[in-house]
């Protein structure tokens, strides 16, 4: 598993969570496993940290949450709504722009 790198992680969990929830409804543990799978374990999170992000996204009306009883346990399933999809597009564009900028800077010879 990759090392966690908090200084570079700002906004990344939010982007990944929105991207995964764009595909289908999921609950917390499912999302953590999916993050590990889609990033090929390059990104490692303390698993609990996804919940403040999920709650915040829901409060900002990007996600909907619903409780569901599964095998006697209560699970909270999250799904993306239309506003959340728009927010995801914006974040993706920002991410692409930053990524391009950083890649360009790293590709230039030092002192150029």
């Amino acid at each position: 598993m990759g090392q966690s790198n908090p200084p570079f992680m700002s906004g990344v969990p939010e982007l990944l969570l929105l991207r995964l929830l764009d595909q289908r409804e999921m609950y917390g543990y499912e999302l953590v496993k999916a993050i590990r799978r889609v990033t090929e374990e390059a990104i490692s999170l303390g698993e609990g940290v996804i919940y403040p992000v999920l709650h915040s996204l829901e409060k900002r009306s990007f996600l909907q949450a619903r409780r569901k009883k599964v095998d006697g346990r209560t699970r909270v399933y999250y799904s993306l709504n239309a506003e959340g999809r728009r927010h995801l597009r914006r974040l993706q564009e920002d991410w692409q722009r930053i990524q391009t900028g950083v890649t360009t800077a790293l590709d230039k010879p030092a002192g150029a």
Partner: protein, 141 residues
């Protein structure tokens, strides 16, 4: 599986002003997550005790999680988000509404209000009758 660290986290978040419904849901989710992690580790051949410890490790540092919750104003109770409303305007509104309190009470419990009103009127009627009798007695003597 109940992790006692979650009780401390719950208290810490409530003290920090996180809305009780958000705290409650977070604790439910973390408990469920821990249980999934424990079952995962058991399925990989760990003993129950080892699986519990590994689940706690994988869940991560709860103080960091508490910090993340604290930094998000949208998760706080409205009293903490809008302290001016809570501390200045709300008491003022209640003060202005105070004279209308009997009306609100009457609307909330109409049957009791009717009984109370009838008793009050009867009491006032009785007082008036006694007063008039007294006046009549004074006039006659």
């Amino acid at each position: 599986m109940r992790d006692h660290r979650l009780d401390a986290l719950q208290e810490e978040l409530l003290n920090a002003g996180i809305a009780p419904q958000n705290v409650k849901r977070l604790i439910i989710e973390l408990n469920d997550h821990l249980e999934d992690l424990r079952l995962d580790e058991i399925a990989r051949g760990e003993t129950d005790a080892a699986a519990r410890n590994m689940a706690r490790d994988r869940l991560g540092d709860l103080s960091m999680l508490a910090n993340q919750m604290r930094q998000r104003d949208e998760l706080k109770d409205w009293i903490y988000r809008y302290p001016a409303i809570a501390r200045i305007y709300l008491p003022l509104v209640w003060f202005l509404l105070l004279p209308a309190a009997p009306l609100f009470a009457g609307l909330a419990k109409p049957a009791e209000a009717m009984r109370w009103g009838a008793a009050l009127m009867m009491s006032a009627g009785l007082t008036a009758l006694l007063f008039l009798s007294m006046q009549l007695a004074i006039a006659l003597t």
